[in-house]
């Protein structure tokens, strides 16, 4: 840094003004972009606190009002909102727990054991991961129907628990971070394979479990296409379906709808604020493999 050539320094100085201008305008653009990213969320929360008549006024409200609870009441009158919230939460929690358990077990098997057909099987897991979900939408529906699982929450959490992405993620993490010697030592000490997995391996998987758990929770919470196909009765609807049900082409009660949308988004915002690093890592890794 100290032995910078005079030539370079001159160039630096001459770049000063234009660079500062460029920096200023680029800053402004990034700022405007960030506002555009956030504004819809802000307006959603604002609209949730105004009655319908105020939202339709010109100009529409830009700051919080006081009709939140009135809108919430309207929402609960129109749809079984609390039960939808409950179903969403229930499905998301069970789905995450099962995904974590099954995928960490499967990933462990792929990472630490040799068995017949392992490469072939793993190749198949990757292959199915690359298949777009719409391909099995219809046949998946017919399967769920044949099993008699229409309207059953398990139709939402069981198929997803066999996540090829989860297996892949856990396999990579275990192969990279769990020492083989540890497992062999435990085996020498007479631990059963179950005990090795649950008391030796699983406690080492914290970061990967956190990432996969978050991704599964968010995916299940937002799952729309899956729910659309397998849920029929409104009292079994998860939040995305319930919200869509009150959206009508004419005379939509926006205040009411926005309360529902806000409550559907809020848990995600909280999770994101707390764990944005893990979520970003997990979701981009998901894309890398998807």
């Amino acid at each position: 840094m100290t032995d910078r050539s005079p030539d370079l320094q001159r160039q630096r100085r001459s770049n000063g003004l234009s660079e500062r201008l460029g920096r200023g305008s680029a800053w402004a653009l990034v700022g405007v972009g960030a506002v555009l990213m956030l504004a819809p969320f802000y307006l959603m929360f604002v609209f949730a606190t105004h009655p319908r008549t105020e939202i339709l006024q010109l100009p529409p409200p830009l700051f919080f009002g006081d009709a939140f609870f009135a809108n919430l009441e309207g929402l609960t009158r129109r749809i079984p909102f609390w039960s939808s919230l409950g179903w969403s939460l229930y499905v998301a929690v069970i789905s995450s727990v099962l995904t974590l358990l099954f995928c960490s077990m499967g990933g462990y098997a792929f990472a630490m054991f040799e068995f017949a057909g392992k490469r072939w099987l793993f190749g198949m897991v990757i292959g199915v991961m690359l298949v777009p979900p719409f391909l099995s939408m219809i046949s998946g529906f017919l399967l769920i129907d044949a099993l008699g699982w229409i309207d059953e929450p398990r139709a939402l959490y069981l198929p997803g628990a066999a996540s090829a992405f989860g297996i892949f993620l856990m396999r990579q993490f275990i192969a990279a971070s769990v020492p083989v010697q540890l497992i062999e030592a435990a085996r020498l000490d007479g631990c059963s394979e179950w005990r090795i997995f649950f008391s030796v391996v699983l406690p080492l998987l914290g970061p990967a479990l956190g990432t996969l758990g978050l991704v599964s929770f968010v995916a299940s919470w937002n799952n729309f296409m899956g729910a659309l196909v397998v849920l029929r009765s409104p009292d079994r609807y998860t939040l995305p379906l319930a919200l869509r049900a009150i959206q009508s082409p004419v005379d939509t009660d926006w205040g009411v709808l926005m309360v529902g949308a806000s409550i559907a988004v809020l848990p995600l915002l909280v999770l994101f604020a707390l764990f944005s690093r893990q979520l970003v890592a997990g979701l981009t890794a998901g894309a890398v493999r998807g």
């Binding site: 339709l56 719409f134 059963s192 179950w194 729309f224 919200l243 709808l257 949308a261 994101f272």
Partner: protein
């Protein structure tokens, strides 16, 4: 491994482990199957089987009311039917329109944005990246509801903003007079949906590029600087070529994602694909073919044609962007 087992259980060689021992995890050779079992069962039933069954359905004609017993092998008839179906052609055009109009701007914005955040805003990098990423994490339905309000003809914020811009002389003549009915006008709904899709995924791409930028060795920039390269030249001759592998990957993802657009156009158009089927993507059409028109055979054939198209497009991108990157 066997030597170690013998240390603990000297009889392991002679006594074959019983099934109970195996289930209890007393047989390391059997253990992987124990751990894989739940995954394998679910994977076979919900991962592999639906794919095979979908292929079966696409080759058969059957009445969903009477069940699979009525299935009749018809060869490629479903495929020929779909390929000559005018709505299918239109759905492909709608899909391509939305994919291109939302996809290309994503990368044109994400690359410079990522470069700028990476070079100038190091301290706020994580915060900014998180802000731009937020739409990707939230529920499509909530987002679509939000934008239905924002794009409303009479009270929508988008039209109000346009109206304000139109008051500026010169700019006003570029904009259509009167409020735009974004979601009910067949000519407007495509840009509207593309905009929402762009808004949703631009941050995701920015993050991919940001991650790649951090992997570019600083010495390359130093060397270019010493050679007298301007900021613009450094961007053009150092950054862009170094980003090529990620760009290849991100563009492939956009194509794959764009070809299967479903949720945003579905919810923004009330589940039917909009006026004149302007935003009825192929994924929406195949959903409707199955669940509205009960034509499972055609719907399955359609999904296989779409998968083939996606594979061909990805291969083309690999040929075009991928190979040059590896040279």
């Amino acid at each position: 491994m066997t030597a170690q087992v013998q240390l603990v259980e000297p009889h392991a060689e002679r006594v074959r482990p019983t099934l109970l021992d195996r289930l209890r995890g007393r047989d390391p050779a059997f253990a992987p199957w124990l751990f894989l079992a739940p995954f394998l069962v679910l994977f076979a039933v919900f991962g592999v089987y639906p794919i095979i069954f979908s292929l079966f359905m696409s080759l058969h004609d059957w009445d969903p009311v009477r069940g699979l017993g009525s299935a009749r092998f018809v060869g490629l008839d479903n495929y020929w039917f779909v390929l000559s179906d005018e709505w299918f052609h239109q759905s492909l055009i709608s899909t391509a329109w939305l994919a291109i109009a939302s996809g290309i701007p994503q990368h044109l914005v994400a690359i410079p944005l990522a470069c700028f955040i990476d070079s100038r805003l190091r301290r706020t990098r994580d915060l900014l990246a998180a802000l731009y990423f937020l739409p990707y994490v939230t529920s499509t339905v909530a987002i679509a509801i939000m934008f239905t309000a924002l794009l409303s003809r009479d009270f929508g914020m988008v039209n109000l903003l346009l109206e304000a811009v139109a008051r500026i002389p010169l700019l006003g003549s570029l904009l259509p007079a009167g409020p735009i009915d974004w979601l009910n006008d067949p000519d407007r709904i495509r840009p509207a949906v593309s905009m929402v899709v762009f808004w949703r995924f631009v941050g995701f791409n920015t993050l991919l590029y940001l991650a790649a930028l951090q992997g570019i060795p600083r010495e390359l920039y130093e060397a270019a600087r010493l050679d007298g390269a301007s900021a613009w030249q450094r961007f053009w001759y150092v950054t862009l070529p170094m980003l090529r592998p990620v760009a290849f990957f991100a563009v492939t993802l956009s194509i794959i994602g764009g070809m299967q657009l479903f949720e945003e156009p579905f919810v923004l158009s009330g589940g039917r694909g909009g006026p004149d089927q302007a935003v009825m993507t192929t994924a929406i059409y195949l959903y409707r073919s199955a669940f509205e028109f009960s034509d499972f055979g055609a719907a399955s054939a359609m999904s296989w044609i779409l998968v083939l198209l996606m594979a061909v497009l990805s291969a083309l991108v690999t040929k075009w962007l991928g190979n040059r990157g590896e040279r």
